[in-house]
């Protein structure tokens, strides 16, 4: 039994007032009469006939006490529980993280959780109000305050599986916040995670338990001359020894097969060497079906092996050399001979040197140009000042940074160039395309500034190099389901479209590229197609099942057959008692009136 308005119970001390009033009322009005002769006969007769007559006053008082008590109870709006019947505010929490995809006797834990939740909804009382929360990497309130059972059941059915890593425990604060919205509520949490409800009323339906499962915990590769060596680590979460066959694929071609024996809880690393180059991605698969299928495959994108070549004309600039050499995928060559006619490089950098003739191919990067060239005019040296990094795509991750320059070249910004760095009104760095060539410049000597000491310098150099050489950002070899894939690795791409492993295609607006791509629930290879400078481009990403979901999936208890509300006898609202109590109070008052008037 519980109360919807327990504050009304604070009126209970008023019952004492009734008793007090009776005590005061017991002061009979004293009257002198001639003789008690007749009255004694009347009273003795009454007492003889009805022994309880003496109690009559008390009966009236007891009836009034009971009536007052019941009125207070009615105000408190009590309810009684009706066994297994669910009622009141019911918060249903369904864990749909990756581990809930584990199978139990032919059905996934998520399917069982959904069926149990639907059964609970179906068997609940008429007055029930439902709130549904699904938990994957975050908790999401699917609906709140729904009284229509069919609607609630449909919404539970619509909860889809995910491969994400997630924890109900970590999202308990949100569940508690929802719980506290109600005066009283019951929480039903369906999860395979071992957890407690803390101070919330309700129960956790544990859907963990053991199963036969081996999963791929890690996949990586290393370059070994002209070949790759691929490492795959597998881990058993079974209680029994397991034998498995691991297949390795290059793109869609089977490359190798290996058998592995695992003791309970054991993990083993398998090496596949001599994998020749030429594949865009590698993937490994445990061929045997087990309790959790999703962790049986893992993908790996191989980095592009193409290197960009850079020719640096410089007398000596250790800062620039260091910055360039740290960029992976770049081959830097250096010379101070201005008379050569270079050819075949992706980028030419002129640091304080102007060549006698300019190359026909590749991009150009001028640092502190000492004289004018066909692309812009150099100017006199003037006093510098604070240099600000402007908001520009080529200044990504460093816009807003600033450093100081003592001397700058007072040169006019060419019309084709975008301003990147400014000192006052002077543009000291810019970039753009002129005559089909990508050209960038810096109108100051790096040695005359504290730029190299600033964290923005290597990033600026990286941005320049990738822009001028069209070098792609390599990115991670794989992501986990639910993780966001960053898409700002290449600038100025258009017509972007992501193809999911299941073939689904999603267009991505240019404005949203900076936010990355977060619809990564499916496991496998994602293909991003785009257009850049009228050329079609494509980049692939691998998304794998988070191994911690596999590791924690086979722990804890299994309560899939649990009868909700019966297991631990926790209370669930059933019938509201307010109306019956009010009716009883009215009957009681009528009876009291009869007792008083009739004097029975």
């Amino acid at each position: 039994m519980g109360f919807n308005n327990p504050y009304a119970l604070g009126l209970l001390p008023l019952l004492g007032l009734i008793i007090l009033m009776y005590m005061l009322k017991q002061q009979h009005e004293e009257m002198e009469i001639s003789s008690l002769y007749l009255w004694n006969k009347v009273l003795s007769q009454s007492e003889v006939k009805k022994p309880w007559q003496k109690l009559k006053n008390n009966i009236l008082m007891l009836m009034q006490l009971m009536a007052a008590f019941l009125i207070i109870m009615a105000l408190a709006n009590p309810f009684i529980t009706k066994g297994k019947t669910l009622g009141g505010n019911v918060i249903i929490v369904i864990d749909r993280s990756g581990s809930m995809n584990a199978y139990h006797e032919g059905r996934t834990r998520l399917d069982i959780a959904k069926a149990m939740a639907q059964k609970a909804i179906n068997e609940s009382g008429k007055s029930s109000v439902f709130t549904l929360i699904s938990v994957d990497k975050t908790a999401k309130v699917e609906f709140s305050g729904v009284t229509d059972k069919n609607e609630a059941i449909k919404a539970v059915e619509a909860i889809e599986k995910t491969n994400m890593s997630g924890s109900v425990k970590e999202n308990l604060s949100l569940i508690k916040a929802v719980y506290r919205q109600f005066e009283s509520a019951n929480v039903l949490i369906y999860t395979d995670e071992e957890m407690e409800l803390d101070d919330m009323k309700g129960e956790v339906i544990a859907l963990g338990g053991y199963g036969s499962n081996v999963g791929i915990g890690h996949i990586s590769y290393s370059e070994d001359g002209d070949a790759y060596t691929v490492l795959v680590r597998v881990k058993s979460t079974s209680q029994e020894p397991e034998n498995r066959e691991l297949a390795l694929y290059g793109d869609d071609k089977l490359l190798a097969l290996k058998d592995v024996k695992l003791a309970p809880g054991e993990s083993s690393s398998l090496l596949f060497d001599g994998i020749r180059r030429g594949y865009r991605y590698i993937w490994a698969e445990l061929t045997e079906e087990d309790a959790l299928q999703e962790d049986n495959r893992a993908y790996l994108v191989l980095n592009s092996t193409e290197k960009k070549s850079v020719l640096l004309f410089s007398k000596k600039n250790v800062f620039v050399e260091k910055a360039l050499s740290s960029i992976e995928g770049l081959e830097v060559y250096k010379t101070d001979d201005v008379s050569i006619r270079p050819e075949g490089y992706d980028l030419y950098i002129f640091d304080g040197i102007t060549p006698t003739s300019f190359p026909n191919d590749g991009s150009l990067f001028f640092i502190n140009p000492d004289e004018s060239n066909p692309y812009f005019k150099s100017g006199k040296t003037i006093e510098g000042g604070r240099a600000d990094m402007l908001n520009h795509d080529l200044n990504r991750n460093i816009d807003g940074f600033s450093f100081y320059i003592s001397k700058i070249k007072n040169m006019e910004r060419p019309y084709w160039a975008d301003a990147l760095i400014q000192v006052g009104n002077n543009t000291v760095a810019g970039a753009g395309i002129y005559g089909g060539k990508k050209i960038a410049y810096m109108a100051f000597d790096i040695h005359d500034s504290d730029f190299p000491l600033d964290a923005s310098f290597p990033i600026f150099m990286y941005n320049m190099a990738t822009y001028l050489t069209d070098m792609e950002e390599q990115g991670k070899n794989f992501y986990f389901s639910g993780e966001t894939i960053p898409l700002n690795f290449i600038s100025s791409i258009q017509g972007t479209e992501m193809e999911h492993p299941d073939g689904k295609k999603t267009s991505i607006s240019e404005d949203l590229l900076d936010y990355g791509y977060s619809d990564t629930n499916s496991i496998g290879i994602y293909k991003l197609s785009y257009k850049k400078d009228d050329n079609a481009g494509e980049k692939i990403f691998a998304v794998n099942f988070p191994p911690e979901e596999g590791n924690k999936a086979f722990q804890g208890q299994w309560e899939g057959e649990k009868e909700t509300g019966n297991g631990r006898g926790y209370t669930l609202m059933g019938m509201n008692l307010q109306i019956p109590i009010i009716i009883f109070v009215l009957l009681l008052l009528a009876a009291e009136w009869m007792v008083y008037i009739r004097g029975i």
Partner: protein
Amino acid sequence: MGNGIFEPEFLKRLERLSLNMEKLTGAGSGGLRKSKAKGSSVEFSDFREYSYGDDLRRVDWNAYGRFEKLFVKLFMEEREAMVNIFVDCSRSMDFGTPKKSVMGIQLAAAVAFLALNNMDRLCINLLKKDAMVSSNVLGGKGQFDICASFLDNVGFEGTTNMDKAIKLKKFGGRGLSLVISDFFIQGSLEDLMKYLMFYKQDIVFLHILSPQEMNPELHGQVRLKDSETGEMVDVDITPSINDKYQKTLKDFKASLKELTKKYGGTYVTISSADSLEKILFEDMIATQIIK
């Protein structure tokens, strides 16, 4: 209380009445009073002053000659009838609006007047606690003043043990015993009745109740205090209790009536709110106590 309590007109009406001794003594009892008109053939007993309505033939002309006043001769034979009036002087009688005591005294005076007026011998007995205060034996109309002054000084106190008190009375012979009381007394009246019967007394019970006793207008919870004993009782007045009271009162009156009837007596219930005229000229004539 003085003689003045009775209006002259009322007295005139009273004078036409007398105690109905035939009825009271019963038919064939051979009572001593054979005639209302006082006889002339028996032993002379006394004189009394002539009053209007007396038989002129019985005027003692010799006495008239000596005293120049008209006297009527009374004879011993006619004064054999002895009227005893017993008035309950307990405190309970001093209650009610109007008070039962007032009505009791008035009734006693009226009956005394009737008795004296009709040449009966009269004794008024005031019952107080276990004892009795008795007047002298009065006879003759002229002694009504004595009777009135005796009744004038009555106080109503304590409880009355009627049985014990009346038994102190030594009856000289046959007569009429008229008891005026509310009969709220302890103990049985049976013994008393037997005692009175033994002394050949004709018994009349004048049962006086106040309107408040006949219809108590009480409400709610009251603590009733007995005026005589000081005893207190808490009563929750309900319609049911009121019904029971009425039934008890009715039973009480019926038992008294039954008791008096059993011993050949007469019982009359009188409300202290009733007028004396109504009681005398209606109730008591109706029950043939007086005629």
